[in-house]
Amino acid sequence: MGVRKIYLDNNATTPCDPRVVETMVPYFFEHHGNAASRNHPFGWEAEEAVDYAREQIAKLINADEKEIIFTSGATESDNLAIKGVYEMYSRKGNHIITVKTEHKAVLDTCNKLEKHGAEITYLDVQADGLINLAELETAIKPNTIMVAVMWANNETGVIQPMKEIGQICEKHGVLFFSDATQAVGKIKTHPRDVGVHLMAFSAHKMYGPKGVGALYVSRKNPRVKVTAQLDGGGHERGMRSGTLNVPGIVGFGKAAEIAMQEMDQDAARLSALRDKLEQAFLHEMEEVYVNGNVAHRMPHVANISFKHVEGEGLMMTFNQEIALSSGSACTSASLEPSYVLVALGLGDDLAHSSLRFSLGRFTKEEDVNYAIEAIKKGVNHMRDISPIWEMYKEGVDLTKIEWAAH
């Protein structure tokens, strides 16, 4: 009997579904061709496989195949969307609106553009993680070219009001880009339905392989163009040069097909398990807080703070067996707590105390049951050795203590 290993970190990456792996294998050796080789069967086979995957992915998001550009992942898609639109539409304006809780692939790209003359507005979020629509609308100016708001947040699972944002963008004639990496394949994400013009996503967050992603770019009403960020052979209709990752793309396509068939049942099963986990902590323990809006949230995600316990230490009580993430500063190289939780207005102390649970297709009920017990035990142990838990229990007002800042 080995050590039990429970993976509750599916927002970091999902396991590649064995059915996906199976479809990829022939494309490494038997059908190893370059999809751009136009003059022999090896190339034709590869091209055909890519076309088929493109169709599978387009179907999942209810788009046209020609609207899918393959990339190396969501980071690249985010870069291509933001930098590509900024360059392409520079004559129209230089202002981009985004949100403080976006992924670093969006925020750092915007920071970079700021140094090159872009004007960026970073919207705050409310305490539940949702943006304020009125604030968004007043932030739009004549020189605004794009609004970039993620579909679902990677740390809290909070889902933004996509349709309403789309309507505001439409009304003011600005492009709407969404990083939908955490949402595609898990909930319905049809860009055209909600007025999204560009959408980034990644295979490894939806049970596909790592290192392959896509950018959806609307081709009609409106026809959107992005300036290529990689120069070369002009693949992907000139928007993304580089030999296509055929096995990766084939796997991405299969992952999309499976997601389309199983998304609803996965979501129903996982939200029940997630709720069970959350309720167990809320009902059986003191000083437990759920972070982010629980009504507008991904079905498999829970972000929970266990007050007076530090997240990294807590994880050490069970990390031989259970994998998950924390917003604690002690887990980050920068020694800053999660900027997403801080943007929600959480005190730093609660941000340090947070755990992110993200369940997935391969999470079993017994895994969740085991995790509940192990984490309760860990929290209780850490509280037993926590000086601030002791003070809290003695009725000391922790906010009145003069802490030695360091």
Binding site: G313, M316, C330, D348, H352, I385, S386, P387, A404, H406
Partner: protein, 137 residues
Amino acid sequence: MAYSNKVIDHFQNPRNVGTLDKASKSVGTGLVGAPECGDVMRLQIEVDDATGVIRDAKFKTFGCGSAIASSSLATEWLKGKSVDDALKIDNMDIVEELALPPVKIHCSVLAEDAIKAAITDYKKKNGVEVADEATVA
């Protein structure tokens, strides 16, 4: 990043967790760090008034595994030492003993600060002059 076996050992079997009577004249208490910074360490010593030797030491820590291991190790080292020798414990000794990586050095600094703060508190209670810079808590 993987933890050293010594960190894991102290983390899994922390030595001297607990609370001493902070009102007692022979007990010195050091409380350092802040919840906002993600680490709070409370270290207490009980000194034999006649010999000046640390009879007992206890800690409680809110922080990462390395912070907990650092404070656990510190209490082990403190017991049986004279107050003056205890002042000589340097955070780099802790770093070395626990093989802490660079990002965790501040956890050992916190432990050294806690030792100094506990000793300062003890000395103050007993009317011994203390240099100002040692007053950390």
